[in-house]
Symmetry: C2
Amino acid sequence: MNIEMIRAAAQRIKGHAHVTPLLSSPFLDKIAGRRVLVKAECLQHTGSFKFRGGRAAVSALSDAQLMNGVIAYSSGNHAQGVALAAKEHGAPAVIVMPSDAPKIKVNNTRALGAEVILYDRATEDRDAIGQRIASARGLTLIRPYDEPEVIAGQGTVGLEIASQATALGVTEADVVVCCGGGGLTSGIALALAADAPKMRVHPAEPADFDDVTRSLAAGKIVSNARLSGSICDAIVTPQPGNLTFPIMQAHCGAGVVATDEDCLRAMGLAFERLKIVVEPGGAVALAAALFYPEQFTGDTVIAVTTGGNVDSATFIRALETL
Amino acid sequence: MNIEMIRAAAQRIKGHAHVTPLLSSPFLDKIAGRRVLVKAECLQHTGSFKFRGGRAAVSALSDAQLMNGVIAYSSGNHAQGVALAAKEHGAPAVIVMPSDAPKIKVNNTRALGAEVILYDRATEDRDAIGQRIASARGLTLIRPYDEPEVIAGQGTVGLEIASQATALGVTEADVVVCCGGGGLTSGIALALAADAPKMRVHPAEPADFDDVTRSLAAGKIVSNARLSGSICDAIVTPQPGNLTFPIMQAHCGAGVVATDEDCLRAMGLAFERLKIVVEPGGAVALAAALFYPEQFTGDTVIAVTTGGNVDSATFIRALETL
């Protein structure tokens, strides 16, 4: 992995992925006690940053690979990102999804033309299922985070943060990124190390599902004790990736955590002050920025709101915190 | 009014106003039966396009005028736009607001440092109140739409639509704009006449409050029969402006209308598919684009979602339409 791969991915997705805005509100600044900038990746195609990695990976394939098709496993956002990218390239897509994924994510993935295969996340191994089907059908497996072209695609968020923040006169900041397996976090960290080296990246995770935070503290990969029980379903993963963890070790500051309740409050404030829809797992970085200011040292914090695929019932819970 | 004033306003607000994204979803395209692009002005500072006009007008004032301060009357969005622009220039601001304006808009306007004076919209004339206080206190009155620099500021939305759509290969489209007094609609129409002359602008209004649509059809200014009773409060005005109407006559196609219920459905779809928060009056253009496709003829419709300042209770009504 290197910065050139990220710049090449940026060229390939240009005009296809949105350059998402860097939003702000004086009301949020007041809550956090410092300037807060929000990189609104929930506005990306398919409602999350995952389209960048999907598009970057699919667009790197050969014509023969595209004709055979691709396969991905995902709790939902990577599924939609890969499905849309495959559709745009005319490539068949198979998506392996947990049977307890939000129905809207399953339906959206099917509506984007993909074949969906469900599995039980408590008893089955999604990587093994993905590899088995990939080899049986000759599909190219696009992993959700431990995949160089996916990390490169997600890293384009970092290139945009560097250029958009610089345009506002901000070159030093704590950059807080909602973190599951670490594809987005490591990609952003690599991009900022090159383009905005005074920015410090912090992975943000739900309390009790803080494998990356604990792994960084321990200096080695450690796992979550369990994989269900958080409303931040989109970013609950067993442990940091083998590719992503060393990058985060080299380039990231300490991880930060926020509770499910904090995420709902951050979603409510994002509705009220920024007019964006954020899902629980996409709000954990903003929650940390707003409600745990003592974890940061600089004048500015940049929080990436990574996704907006949330059902009405959960969103109403967030509105009720206002 | 001319295109040079809009380009000059664009220079003055550059780096202060957001270049809002042009969003899309294959799911919305399917509903409308054609390509739908959404200019998400609800993501603008203060939650509506009104910041552009406020900033353009305030930034055109002399130092002496800024020191004396500004006054505006508004149901809420223009209030916040002018208040923030004044604050950024260190100028005092007085805002005259109807006593039945949504509480969040009154509170936000005060929180932005403005002095708020309430009036009864059924019995008092806001323009008379504004002019009286302006001359008593030496303030500069910034009207919400019949004000050249305000129209110029709103017209910057049109410059962005032309350049963003062209980047997507779209040069012909029906451009649907939520319309109250016509400041935004006339500004966009002027900008597109210069930069994208194959685009046709259509004002969009709530059913039963369609003064602009009827005025365009009649060839002269006609008024609304009443001024309350729509959830689209932000865009209910007595009649088109004296400055804005001739511009709309010269450059706009027929007006389109949608019901309050259509607006709620469009807000729900904007939540689900675009991850943006739109207020009822900001959703009428999208509602027309999605649910009244027979009013348009081209392959692409561009809907401007003009604001996102909506309370939780109304937003929950929109979610319940999903």
